[in-house]
């Protein structure tokens, strides 16, 4: 498999994630779309590390850092969703106009 195949796969996953991020109404699904975006970036990093930099695998080290930050992001994001749900009694993204003038 050439490098371009994995890059195309990551690009497709990224675009699906972008679409879900924009159109979802459920706040939890927005977080899932963010996870899709982070995973597509991870595929890119591992593919570059495997095809271009096999001896010292810097891309895999970066991937581990991205996974760490993604876990922290998921925890804090879900906590924020829980807090908003407790205040607003909904998870509909259209109702979240707290920061809208």
């Amino acid at each position: 498999m050439p490098l371009e195949f994995f890059l195309l796969l990551a690009a497709a996953l990224f675009c699906i994630g972008i679409y879900g991020l924009i159109t979802s109404r459920n706040a939890v699904r927005v977080l899932m779309s963010v996870e899709l975006l982070l995973n597509s970036v991870n595929i890119n990093l591992v593919a570059f590390s495997n095809f271009l930099d096999r001896q010292n695998i810097n891309g895999q080290v970066f991937t581990v850092f991205v996974i760490t930050v993604a876990a922290a992001e998921a925890a804090v994001g879900l906590a924020i969703i829980l807090a908003i749900y407790r205040n607003r009694d909904t998870v509909d993204m259209e109702q979240f106009n707290l920061l809208k003038w």
């Binding site: 195309l8 796969l9 990224f14 972008i18 695998i57 922290a72 906590a79």
Partner: protein, 198 residues
């Protein structure tokens, strides 16, 4: 093509199809629980792709952290905010969906053209290292030492922050102590009692 190459090719294609299909399921399913489970499918398939790209440590970390922690966390969040609500219709929402789809497709086309036109120089002569775990560990404790330590601080802050944000509203600052009663302990955040479920 040897047998090993054939197996690698076929499994790569199957895993890629699973990734794309499950990701579409995450975005397009109406039921959010189905989305969470297909998200687990995306993570597992990506872990398989990592193994095919000689990244065994990252693959194990992907299974442990994404499937074991993040996906379970998302399922718990779905259970905690489990409210069968009918979203109020928004006028001309299909325009937004259509434009989002167009933007995503355009972005995909742009990326495709870019990465097919770029001439990558794969370094096939290099051999994969014997153990990626040893190499990653050496990186963590030499040239990536500062990000490694910062990641631990970030995880601690995320842990404490998630607990503070997700807890029920605390009643610090209100006059809760009645005269003659024992003062509240200093290192304790009193919180409102949970309202009975209607």
């Amino acid at each position: 093509m040897t047998l090993a190459d054939g197996v690698q090719l076929v499994s790569t294609l199957i895993l890629a199809a699973m990734v794309i299909g499950a990701a579409l399921g995450v975005v397009l399913f109406d039921n959010i629980v189905y989305s969470a489970f297909t998200l687990g499918g995306v993570f597992i398939s990506i872990a398989g792709l990592y193994i095919l790209m000689n990244a065994d440590f990252v693959s194990a970390a992907q299974v442990l952290i994404y499937v074991g922690a993040v996906n379970v966390l998302i399922l718990f969040a779905i259970m905690l905010v489990n409210k069968q609500e009918v979203y109020s219709p928004v006028p001309r929402r299909w325009i937004r969906k259509l434009s989002a789809a167009l933007v995503s497709a355009g972005l995909f086309g742009l990326l495709t053209v870019m990465l097919l036109q770029t001439e990558w120089l794969p370094n096939a002569a290099q051999t994969a290292p014997d153990s990626t775990v040893i190499l990653i560990g050496e990186h963590f404790f030499s040239d990536y030492l500062l990000p490694f330590e910062l990641a631990s601080i970030l995880l601690l802050m995320a842990l404490v922050g998630a607990v503070v944000i997700a807890r029920r509203e605390s009643i610090v600052g209100e006059d809760t102590a009645i005269v003659g009663e024992q003062p509240a302990p200093v290192l304790e955040l009193p919180e409102r009692p949970r309202e009975p479920v209607a």
